[in-house]
Symmetry: C3
Subunit: 112 residues, 3 copies
Amino acid sequence: MQTVFHLIEDDAEKRETALTIAENLTQDDSVEVGEVAVVAQSHGIEPLTADGEGSDHVRSLLEAGVSFKACGNTLDLMDLDEADLVEGVEPVSSGAGELTRLQSEGYAYVRP
Amino acid sequence: MQTVFHLIEDDAEKRETALTIAENLTQDDSVEVGEVAVVAQSHGIEPLTADGEGSDHVRSLLEAGVSFKACGNTLDLMDLDEADLVEGVEPVSSGAGELTRLQSEGYAYVRP
Amino acid sequence: MQTVFHLIEDDAEKRETALTIAENLTQDDSVEVGEVAVVAQSHGIEPLTADGEGSDHVRSLLEAGVSFKACGNTLDLMDLDEADLVEGVEPVSSGAGELTRLQSEGYAYVRP
């Protein structure tokens, strides 16, 4: 099974909860989860930026094998590019496009 | 691929972000998206009403081929009928029923 | 068709709306819905606790055949166990794990 988390909240505490929920999934032995991805857009980009609040949590999840994708429209809007992001975060064309693509591949969708 | 957006936020700025995310998907050439739908319920109905804040954005998305569905329970609760909605918006029996039906047809679900 | 609702909001009114949306689905004759489940986590646990705000709504939905699952990580964090929950609510290992499992079985996902 595969799961994609949609990270979009404008509240830092809710984003932290979302990352913890993703982390808990990687540690849940009751379900066999192959791939865990996080697609971030709008305010959800913050923890994916190199100095952003929550970026250390993103780094530890990347090390645990979770993949992170940053919405290209959001990056354009915020005048950010790949160099501004945590190393290992992958920019994608659009957040909704990536969420659509992953669900079409069988990923479950969770929006904390 | 097909995508349904769930429009439900009580905050006008978040609803505007949701409509922009839907719009960006229609312009994302990296993913072949056949149908884009928006199912609105609760406070998400506002931009689908004829004079509602954000209704011009709904009109331009309708022209771009995005379909809009309005939850019938919300319409009843707000004492609205089809004549109060932006032309082209389709009332449906219930928001969750329509979201279930579309996902069962293969639509990806995105809840901005 | 089957539907799982994700109950996670920190606002009591939004949680009440979410439960009403689930209730409306059980009463929507336009779509044949076999199973309706609610997975609660984080602040969404509140109405699933025996004396929690909204617990009467949970009880009536349980009687109507809706199943309720409580995230085990949230229960641990809040120092709650099954005895603290409305009778009939089922603890699960993790909220995201259960949401993944149900979607892999064909449940549509709705996050009010």
